[in-house]
């Protein structure tokens, strides 16, 4: 046991780890929002509800089909992503020609409905979800205890984030996406089915949210409002990073998680507000966000 700036190492590294965990969720969720915003020009307020749905579907698969965590990591994003595809086909595609505000209102209303329905059936006390057997326990590093599951969350989330970045920035498919973001009319006139690409992009972004939900299930309670609380912070993260920047969303997500963790150590009173304070400052100095391109 040693001290850094008068803080016991145990506390400091503990909070750093917690910060990284939160950062993993911020990054995954703001990445999904950025991908969706880039392509659909819609701020997806349903994102938090879709994250919650991910956790619930994982719980449901375990409860009723005996399908555990590892199955859920694969099945849940597909199932919830598919509900996203349906939402896009039924509602969102009618809004693209209108102001941003309509997409925001629709997705916000949808979030309230989804959360209401889940609360009606499951109450709001929360359901427990078992950690996978293989990831229980942890490492004692001497200066701190490192739970295996948390390490897994950080590594897996980082892998998903960087893979997504790679696909969008470095592959042919990603080039199509970037081009369609810039000039959908021309891309379509080259023979590319842009509407289908938009639908699948929304499904993918929703799938990312659901994946985060599965990863959250063993740590936090599975609870109809779990997304509503988190998503407010994630929107602040997105504002700070800049809408539509993929790498910006990832870096900002992890960084702000860490900043929040450190604030808990050094100035606990501000830990709940620090992200919003940063958001206000960034909005004043760089309204497009740290990584955002001014339109």
């Amino acid at each position: 046991m040693f001290e850094i700036f008068g803080i016991p190492s145990q506390a400091l590294f503990g909070q750093l780890l917690l910060g990284l965990i939160n950062g993993s969720f911020y990054a995954l969720l703001s990445l999904g929002l950025a991908v969706i915003f880039g392509m659909l020009n819609i701020i997806n307020f349903t994102h938090g509800a879709q994250y919650m749905m991910g956790a619930f579907v994982a719980w449901f698969l375990l409860q009723h089909f005996g399908l555990g965590y590892w199955w859920s990591l694969v099945i849940v994003p597909i199932v919830v992503g598919f509900t996203g595809v349906v939402v896009e086909r039924l509602f969102l595609q009618r809004l693209y020609k209108l102001d941003h505000l309509y997409g925001l209102l629709l997705t916000f209303g949808l979030a309230l409905i989804i959360q209401g329905v889940f609360r009606n059936y499951f109450g709001s006390s929360g359901l427990p979800y078992q950690m996978p057997q293989s990831l229980t326990g942890g490492q004692n590093l001497g200066f701190m205890f490192l739970p295996n599951y948390r390490v897994w969350v950080i590594v897996f989330s980082l892998t998903i984030c960087l893979t997504t970045w790679f696909v969008i920035e470095r592959t042919r498919l990603g080039a199509n996406l970037r081009a369609a973001t810039e000039n959908p009319t021309l891309v379509r006139a080259f023979g590319i089915n842009v509407p289908r690409m938009i639908t699948l992009t929304y499904g993918f972004g929703v799938g990312l949210a659901a994946l985060a939900g599965v990863m959250a299930a063993p740590i936090y309670n599975v609870n109809p409002l779990m997304g509503a609380d988190l998503i407010i912070v994630v929107f602040a993260v997105v504002v700070i990073g800049g809408m539509g920047s993929i790498m910006g969303a990832i870096v900002t997500g992890f960084t702000l998680g860490i900043v929040e963790g450190l604030t808990k150590v050094f100035f606990p009173e501000a830990s709940n507000t620090v992200i919003f304070v940063i958001m206000a400052i960034v909005l004043l100095i760089r309204p497009a966000g740290l990584f955002g391109r001014t339109a």
């Binding site: 891309v187 590319i192 089915n193």
Partner: protein
């Protein structure tokens, strides 16, 4: 002169609107396989709108656009592209978020018979040198135009719609584009060219249509050029 061949593209009573404004008021013309046909006309005559209407990217259009025995009116632009038409827009449409190579490879191959990358680089050697360039829009105007033409040659489209490819370019580059159009014609491409630069057009075109106020008002063959000089001056004010 009566033509017994089947036109590759046949535009009949084409009308188009941007929102409330009625822009095309019944455009009629034909293009036969292997031809280079030029649409001439003053600013705002409706040349670009005609190309966009063929391509299916204006708000509303009526009439008939027959291509290769298919009716294209009512089809979405991706289907029209897949029928075998490729479009090079007036503003060139190079993507800032794509590097040069990605810009070049963006339009998908819709059928066989397109040019290989090697053939495209033979036409536009500059493009090969700039392939590693980070951002498509960092190229010079001339290079961007070559990229905009080059990328649609890979697709296997048989009809190319080129909207003012020489606009704002230096004479040497205009020459290079002229040479390219002749090469493409020799390889069997059919080309619909929109031009303000009549002198350039006269070096490549088989036939001309003059547009005014959203209609085709005059048609003549390259052989009638001398006889039509007066008329041309009247319509184009050159």
């Amino acid at each position: 002169m009566l033509d017994t061949r089947m036109p590759l593209l046949s535009v009949n009573d084409l009308q188009a609107w941007y929102g409330e404004s009625h822009i095309l008021h019944g455009v009629n013309f034909d293009i036969f396989p292997g031809e280079v046909v030029t649409l001439l006309g003053r600013n705002g005559a409706g040349k670009t709108t005609t190309l966009k209407s063929i391509m299916g990217i204006v708000g509303q259009r009526t009439g008939s656009v027959r291509f290769d025995n298919q009716e294209l009116i009512g089809k979405t632009s991706d289907k029209i592209a897949r029928a075998g038409i490729a479009f090079c827009p007036e503003e060139r449409g190079i993507f800032a978020s794509l590097n040069v190579e990605e810009n070049l490879l963006l339009p998908p191959q819709i059928r066989s018979g397109g040019l290989s990358l090697e053939q495209i680089f033979t036409l536009f050697p500059n493009l090969k040198e700039r392939l590693g360039s980070s951002q498509g829009t960092k190229l010079s105007g001339g290079e961007q135009q070559m990229l905009a033409i080059g990328r649609i040659l890979r697709t296997g489209a048989r009809l190319l719609l080129l909207d003012e490819p020489t606009e704002g370019l230096a004479p040497v580059i205009i020459q290079q584009i002229g040479k390219t159009i002749k090469t493409l014609k020799a390889q069997g491409f059919t080309i619909l060219l929109v031009e303000q630069n009549f002198r350039f057009a006269s070096t490549v075109a088989d036939r001309y249509y003059i547009m005014e106020h959203g209609k085709v008002v005059e048609r003549f063959e390259n052989s009638e050029l001398d006889a039509k000089t007066e008329t041309l001056h009247e319509y184009l004010g050159v």
